[in-house]
Symmetry: C2
Subunit: 718 residues, 2 copies
């Protein structure tokens, strides 16, 4: 009997001890208990679904890999972090498969593999290239095994991130059979970072690269940056602004950059440099930078040699030339191809490439958006094979709404890549919630008709149409020293979407959004649904309250607020007493004719043009009858009001999340949505009041009337 | 028998379960596992000494307080964070004392107190003022109780931080009897933050204040900043640069600043604003800012009223006038007192004050360091009683080594406070390890002889000598968006020391260093000793390798590297073929005579002047024999070499800490020490090679010879 009492006491004791440790687990952690967004989508929260948790644990009984390269060490490191978070276990690394539930991470060359399996893998991996991987459940030596295999260690790393993502998003691992490889070769993040650590169009603090403490101090953040980039398949980083300071290629900076390259290398990320075309003059004391001058050519050869001595796998150069005040070959009466080939020749022996930007304009034409096409199409075929033309997604800039650039489909003999913008230059900086995945998708899925119907922009830039030997996608990202990298937490979602679409442009942007939410916020269905709805509305909302119906470039100098009254804006909206919009039809600047038929005619014709591009291509009367039956003026009023209401809907949806996600990010986004609502009203009122001075029509009474006078809105500067 | 087996099994089971939770505690935490320095000295690491841990827990059986103000809530919040970290417990808040081991946190007014105890406390608290507190062990209602009592809630908060500090630094709580109150009233952190979020002389990212998301978003970092400041007794924050943008006092910015004030208020921190003296012209469309003009006076009255409507407890203004291009009363032929009193009159009805900076120079005199004294001494007695003169610690600037400013002791009828610099403008920015506590102490302990021997600078600024009715100490701090607030983790130590010395200028800087190390790194004696040694060497090292023997201002434009060859430097070192140093003796600029006797004579005389100030006051022949027997040149060579060797000693000491502290901060400081060593060599070689061109003497062979040529060092820009 006393023994029984003792047993009860023991049970109580067990209970107390367990409770003590549970309590300690909850309270004893004195690290910042605080969700600051720093982990982005590699958050690795503990799997809450018990069934899945058990399944995952049973799949990770051991991990078999050969830690013989920096990349393999990176895989080990990532698994340690990931499994600690997701499953609360430390991975058991083994040399051989000796139990069920092993994860085998190996190229087919591994001596650990039996010849039979080796042969199978080699065959299966034939189609995945240097970066692809397979992920399969298979019996190995009689044991139930999950295999990640690839032709290279980098492929294995991508496969590991893929497997981790499956767990982060609550997918079953019980019947895996996945084959993945990227659709384009160059998946490049462009930083517009200056040498003084300011970031052009960056809204998240200073540049990540701390030149004052490099090369000595290797901030752990550099590694985190590489992890995040690699996890979505980004394999290149242009570390400095296209408006390039020549100092970056001096010996002192190259030493520092080499340190970054060493940190990025195991993650499959190459460093690229934006260069200043006048460097031979600025650094080399030459009196010319003429691309055909032999001294200039020799200077670049020798400079490139110096760079490769320090960074043997440097990716190459990104060049903005003869654009917005940047120097270029035109100064010397040479063409863009002369300029690009100069650098391409110097880089060729080292395997480097040139990304040459097509974003050029010099006020030569009345309609600036025509320039890139007019300047580059005649040069098609003139560029070396290690040059790729980097073309912004639209013909003007990174506008909320514009058609795709007509250069896509017009350069059959010139490698051509697309450039998107992640940072929200024209979309509320770091104050507004915006998911750009759908915008990217819209462009990539646009039909160019270059080889008949169904020649998508995505097909072109992935080299399926013109057999480019270099393909790529660039994203201008804005991360900075802000703890959460991007300022607004949701800018992360566009960064994520850029990476995923660069890997596979055919992915559904809504599914990408869902993945990101699951990894970044929660797997709870009610949370995912609400946030997905918000993200889905966000891009349409922004177009509505800023620049609906094809209006463009009507912001302030900083591009943050509205300024339709500014000189620059007037150049683009052409509002007058008759109507509004830029006549780019055949009766105007004829920019429509840069598109392939039947698109040119579709855009040229008021009755067939998609209304979302109406004012981009046409100057339209205020009383023109839209498809809805409304006049153009009423339709404009309606769009602006819908935009504001959509922001309010986003606010309501967000408010549902109180207590469903962490307080910190809930409060942060809630306050930023307040700012966004205030700004949306400002855009609506400022634009409508100003355009009203031409249309002389009322804002119908059923709509919320302007909060302030036009004068007030003009007084706001930012 | 089976029961016994069961018991054994149970024991094993307990063991396993316990181990499971221990493992989970170690591994299951997927927050950044990473010591990034963000918590600064409020790190609250778990107490490792078991005996102390038990003692502390027994003292915290319950916490009795009345949560009826923002400050009391702040106390509760801090105890939750602190005890979770230190003791792994959640504080049990109670209304009454009903057990041993209560912590009673209460002003004497609390209804919870019995009349007898109330009377005792009221009596004891008579001498501690509005911010002091007592901390005692005492029996209350028969229970063993720890009492924190004060006349105000803020006093209670300070007492709470004190108690937490005792536990952080491993002090016994068994015989507490502490009475504390601050020695000066205004303990103010000065931010040199600009409206664009750049920070003048800041090296730790952007300004903490994010004007683009205020007032909507209340970044939790604002609260952390208030916690850190309050924990060392700082009770005022000047939020913007003394080179002041008038925009800060426009309605839009005041709304944002008011939000900060609301966050800081519970922590006893008032907001002060740096103002632009020309604001009436810049904002008010007046055509003058003449302090005696009635429109100007009315403009300020009304502006101040507007400010107090938004921030009812705003502290007042800080003004830099007629200095380095800033506007001021001199433009209108008025004096500094006219200017200060203009603002003081406007602030008076609201209880606000003016901190008027004495840092003025306008190239009026050949010896700039004389100016502040010459300009302000004649105005003694002319300032309103709510004005306080803010005087930099030395007569020139925040130089590594200079005598105290002669204004301390020269203004018997003018409230005078001292201004120190925490940010390392002249001391390696955020790259060099430097503890300034000893530098501050040296100045505060300097004897001014203003009222005979033993009239310390600290005695003067605390109002003990001249009965000032305002007293204060300001520190120019540099925190920014860097995760660890200050860039170099050790800048935190000077910030900490500033706060502690502002509370009590008589504290021993080595003891302050020890406290800081214990709170920031470890209580392990071997760790504390090593770091304390490093900190103790650091300030002497910096003077040696930069500007020994009273040399000053020989840096580059950025003040980072050496540039003795620059025009400005030459003005200060006066090196020529005869010797080196600035003749400020009675045969020169006679700045010595600004000091009280016998100091003036001591400084004036080559044989009595402390050698560390030799070249500050005298131009000395290269072959002058120093106390060591060396010639001046040899002594100079020796100092520069000792400085470099001291940095190397710091490196060696730091290397001992590998595996004793977290990897992240170990690596970070180690890399920064590499940079510091490189820079120390640069300072040594650049200065000696340059001065050698005058002295024409050798660097004796027993010393390390210069690594590079003078030409090379001249080519380095930063």
């Amino acid at each position: 009997m006393t023994v029984v009492v003792n047993l009860l006491r023991f049970k109580l004791m067990i209970f107390s001890i367990v409770m003590l440790f549970i309590a300690r687990d909850v309270q004893g952690n004195n690290l910042p208990s605080f969700e600051d967004g720093h982990r982005m989508w590699l958050r690795y929260e503990t799997v809450k679904n018990i069934e899945l948790l058990e399944q995952y644990k049973s799949r990770f009984a051991s991990v078999v890999l050969n830690d013989n390269s920096g990349t393999m060490s990176a895989i080990k490191k990532e698994l340690k972090i990931g499994l600690k978070g997701l499953l609360s276990i430390a991975p058991q690394f083994r040399r051989t498969i000796d139990r069920d539930g092993a994860i085998l991470i190996s190229t087919p060359e591994s001596p650990a593999l039996k010849t039979s399996l080796k042969k199978v893998l080699i065959k299966e991996l034939k189609s995945v290239g240097n970066e692809g991987f397979i992920l399969q459940k298979r019996s190995v030596n009689g044991y139930d095994t999950t295999i990640i295999s690839a032709n290279t260690d980098i492929g294995l790393l991508y496969g590991t991130f893929h497997l981790l993502r499956l767990m982060q998003t609550g997918k079953s691992l019980s019947r895996l059979n996945i084959k993945e490889f990227p659709e384009v070769q160059l998946r490049v993040a462009n930083h517009w970072d200056n040498i003084d650590r300011s970031v052009e169009r960056g809204y998240a603090g200073l540049s990540l690269w701390d030149w004052k403490t490099l090369p000595n101090y290797k901030d752990p953040r550099y590694t985190d940056y590489a992890r995040l980039s690699s996890s979505v398949g980004i394999n290149g980083v242009v570390i400095n602004n296209v408006n390039a300071n020549a100092e970056f290629i001096t010996s002192r900076y190259l030493d520092r950059i080499a340190t970054l390259a060493n940190i990025f290398r195991p993650y499959g990320i190459k460093i690229y440099l934006s260069i200043n075309f006048n460097s031979p003059q600025l650094l080399g004391n030459l009196n010319t930078a003429d691309p055909l001058d032999e001294d200039v050519r020799e200077w670049w050869r020798s400079k490139v040699q110096e760079i490769y001595n320090k960074i043997p796998d440097m990716g190459g150069f990104l060049v903005k030339a003869d654009s917005e005040g940047q120097p270029g070959p035109n100064t010397y009466g040479r063409t863009h191809s002369d300029g690009a080939n100069l650098l391409a020749d110097a880089l060729k022996p080292h395997g480097g490439i040139v990304m040459w930007r097509a974003f050029v304009y010099g006020e030569k034409q009345e309609d600036r958006i025509r320039e890139a096409y007019d300047e580059f199409v005649p040069l098609d075929g003139e560029f070396n094979d290690n040059v790729i033309l980097q073309v912004k997604k639209g013909p003007l800039d990174f506008m909320p709404m514009e058609p795709f650039s007509p250069l896509f489909g017009a350069m059959p003999n010139t490698n051509t890549m697309i450039e998107f913008q992640v940072t929200q230059e024209y979309l509320g900086n770091a104050n507004h919630l915006l998911y750009k995945g759908k915008m990217y998708n819209k462009i990539l899925m646009s039909d160019t008709y270059a080889h008949g119907k169904g020649t998508l922009v995505g097909d072109i830039i992935s080299g399926k149409i013109f057999k480019y030997n270099l393909t790529g996608m660039a994203g201008v990202i804005n991360p900075g020293t802000a703890r959460n990298w991007t300022g607004h937490p949701f800018v992360q979602s566009s960064w994520y979407a850029f990476g995923r679409l660069a890997w596979n442009y055919q992915l559904d942007p809504d599914k990408i959004a869902r993945e990101w939410i699951q990894m970044t916020f929660s797997n709870e269905e009610k949370v995912v649904e609400k946030i997905q709805k918000i993200m889905s509305i966000s891009s349409e909302a922004a177009v509505n309250y800023r620049e609906p119906l094809g209006l463009t470039h009507i912001g302030t100098g900083s591009h943050y607020g509205p300024a339709p009254w500014s000189k620059r804006s007037q150049i683009f909206h052409h509002a007058d007493e008759v109507g509004i919009g830029f006549n780019r039809s055949t009766s105007g600047s004829s920019a429509v004719s840069q598109y392939h038929e039947p698109l040119a005619s579709e855009f040229n014709n008021l009755s067939t043009i998609p209304e979302e591009l109406l004012l981009w291509f046409h100057h339209v009367r205020w009383d023109y009858t839209m498809k809805s039956g409304n006049s153009l003026w009423e339709e404009l009023v309606n769009h602006y009001h819908v935009g504001v209401n959509q922001v309010r809907e986003m606010q309501e949806l967000w408010d549902f999340l109180e207590n469903e996600i962490d307080t910190e990010r809930f409060n942060h986004v809630k306050s930023l949505l307040e700012i966004q609502e205030r700004d949306a009203v400002r855009w609506r009122d400022a634009c409508l009041l100003y355009f009203q001075s031409f249309s002389r029509k009322e804002i119908p009474k059923r709509y919320e009337q302007p909060k302030h006078s036009l004068q007030y809105y003009k007084s706001l500067k930012e």
